[in-house]
């Protein structure tokens, strides 16, 4: 039995008596937000690399850090706390369970089926959030999430506050504006990368936005009761080309690839910071990078906008 599962059992008993926010006492947690994962940031805890949206348990004395392209940020959530690693810049913010955020609640974005599956595994209740996404509720939830991991279709897990007189509110990365330093080194296609990698509903105003305020400059997070599901995939819809090879990600959530191995048509999924095209005969794994997508084989697909260079 994992620590989280054990905690769940204990908490389930304890909570009969009305307690809240009791989990793996002493453990800290670290979690990558969507922007960090999309940028290729990984969590390394005691030498084990984690890429998924799941929180990772960081017991006292464990060495944990976030890493991207050789750059590292040491993480020290401390006991009963969670550190959220945000964006390509790996900005780390730590919240204390029981004081800042709830150990028993989490905000989750992703496909409904994946969220439901995770809820079953953690025996959590699921509720739609008014701002989009879902709320999971279960005693000791964060410990369970760390033990269970998450599957394809889960994009992001974020802690929630417990308000004194209302339901939990969003916290952490969801409310964190896109930092000025996050686009450092993204290169000539930084607009595209910044949009895709951005993690908050903040607004970045620049010359383009001032000229065309209604059509640009707004970072992607959707908020509406029925606006569930991926908030990143709409930004990836497009035509990508690598020499003679062509990849079209359409608005139905499918992709058509024509490359050296022939044609591939399949469903598009986001998992572990990568974009997967799952066809009947093969699966193509791509990472988002400035200006386009890159396959595991190193083929770089550049986004084609239809305009002459």
């Amino acid at each position: 039995m994992g620590r989280g599962a054990l905690a769940c059992t204990i908490v389930a008993v304890l909570c009969v008596f009305g307690c809240d926010d009791i989990g793996d006492v002493g453990d800290g947690y670290a979690v990558l937000d969507r922007g960090a994962r999309a940028a290729g940031v990984v969590l390394i805890v005691e030498g084990t690399t984690h890429r998924s949206a799941a929180p990772v348990s960081v017991p006292a004395g464990f060495v944990a850090y976030a890493e991207r392209d050789g750059a590292e940020v040491l993480l020290d959530p401390g006991p009963d706390a969670v550190t959220i690693v945000q964006g390509a810049a790996m900005r780390a913010e730590t919240y204390l369970f029981g004081r800042d955020v709830s150990f028993d609640h989490a905000w989750i974005s992703g496909r409904r089926a994946a969220v439901d599956a995770l809820a079953r595994r953690t025996q959590a209740d699921v509720a739609d959030r008014i701002e989009g996404g879902y709320e999971l509720r279960a005693p000791g939830l964060w410990g369970l999430l760390a033990d269970e991991g998450v599957s394809v279709g889960i994009e992001e897990i974020t802690p929630l506050t417990t308000g004194p007189d209302g339901p939990p509110g969003l916290r952490g990365a969801i409310q964190t504006p896109y930092g000025a330093g996050d686009d450092a080194g993204l290169g000539e296609h930084s607009d595209f990368a910044a949009e895709v990698l951005a993690e908050g509903p903040a607004i970045m105003m620049g010359a383009e936005e001032l000229l065309h305020p209604a059509e640009s400059g707004l970072l992607p997070d959707i908020s509406a009761p029925e606006l569930e599901g991926s908030t990143t995939l709409p930004l990836l819809v497009g035509v990508y080309r690598a020499g003679e090879h062509r990849l079209v990600l359409d608005a139905s959530g499918h992709a058509t690839l024509d490359d050296a191995q022939g044609e591939l048509w399949g469903e598009v999924l986001l998992s572990g910071g990568r974009l997967l095209v799952v066809g009947e005969e093969r699966t193509l794994s791509l990472s988002v990078h400035p200006g386009g997508l890159r396959s595991e084989g190193g083929e770089s697909f550049t986004r084609f906008t239809g305009e002459e260079p």
């Binding site: 992607p220 997070d221 509406a224 599901g229 497009g238 608005a251």
Partner: protein
């Protein structure tokens, strides 16, 4: 008045007037010359930008048929340039692009199942898979062949004018039905846009909806869905004011430029002038030869959809 006096008036008339082939060579290529990905890429870019703006995307379908290209171009021009506040207001909540159905279908595969070219497709942009809805209606023809023979000049003018009014109304209602069909959809669209606004913008919009502030065209454009929702529950006078602001935002967009994938052009019966020409186009004098016809005032600025050099 002989029927031939109306040659060149609209639609097939203009095509029959004889259009020099250089007209489109400055800004378009034949299908063979065209980058095969350009159209789909343009739709994808429009989709992405609409998502960022928190709006659905209205894809104006460029029909395959040349005759339909003229008729559709006039119909859109009449609505966008001469629609009333009530008719234009729903359009403030959408982003536009114009494209051939085959190009749209690569990004919105549902469209591949359509049996003919709809007037437009409304594509939701808040999530994947995206929902899409074809917008179609039978629009009245105003071309030479449609005009009754036994009418004199004034009667023909009045007949065409009435058909144009009817065409604007049908197109506007079809779009409104798709963009703002009911309160739950309005609320969802408003929520999608609200997430894109800064606190001060939300405050200003709320004050405007309450009648405490005049809304700028820019903010009306950016928060069109919220304003539309506000107008649906406001007093008649306040709703009228809000719709006027939304319509003003649409007119500002219309005057600034056409939807991506189309061009604004003006035709008076003696030549067609394509707007916003490039230096290259200006250098070759991009203007069609005189068609010796008559174009009703409300049809004179229209969307020019031709993409092949034979026109």
């Amino acid at each position: 008045m002989k029927r031939r006096r109306f040659v060149g008036a609209l639609g097939a008339g203009l095509a029959a007037a004889g259009v020099p082939s250089f007209v489109s060579q400055g800004f378009a290529q034949t299908r063979e010359e065209r980058d095969p990905d350009a159209g789909a890429a343009a739709v994808a870019e429009a989709y992405r930008r609409a998502h960022l703006a928190g709006r659905p995307l209205l894809v104006v379908i460029i029909p395959e048929s040349d005759g339909a290209k003229w008729e559709r171009g006039y119909a859109w021009g009449e609505l966008l340039n001469h629609g009333s506040d009530v008719q234009l207001a729903p359009l403030a909540a959408v982003s536009f692009v114009a494209a051939l159905r085959e190009d749209v279908a690569r990004i919105v595969p549902d469209l591949a199942r359509a049996s003919s070219d709809p007037l437009a497709v409304l594509v939701e942009t808040h999530q994947i898979p995206a929902q899409s809805r074809a917008i179609d209606a039978e629009l009245p023809d105003t071309n030479y062949y449609a005009v009754p023979e036994d009418l004199d000049w004034n009667e023909r003018e009045a007949w065409i004018d009435a058909r144009i009014t009817e065409r604007i109304a049908i197109l506007a209602e079809s779009i409104a039905d798709a963009v703002a069909p009911n309160l739950p959809v309005l609320r969802a669209r408003a929520a999608q846009q609200e997430a894109r606004l800064e606190p001060w913008q939300r405050r200003h919009v709320a004050q405007a909806v309450a009648g405490q502030r005049r809304l700028s065209a820019e903010l009306a454009d950016r928060a069109a869905a919220i304003v539309t929702l506000g107008a649906s529950t406001a007093t008649d006078a306040q709703a009228e004011e809000l719709r006027a602001r939304l319509a003003a935002a649409v007119r500002e967009r219309v005057s600034a430029g056409p939807p991506a994938g189309a061009r604004w052009a003006r035709g008076t019966g003696c030549g067609i002038q394509v707007e916003q020409q490039t230096e290259e186009e200006e250098a070759v004098g991009l203007m069609m030869a005189c068609g010796m016809g008559h174009v009703p005032a409300r049809s004179q600025r229209f969307l020019y959809f031709f993409t092949e050099s034979r026109y």
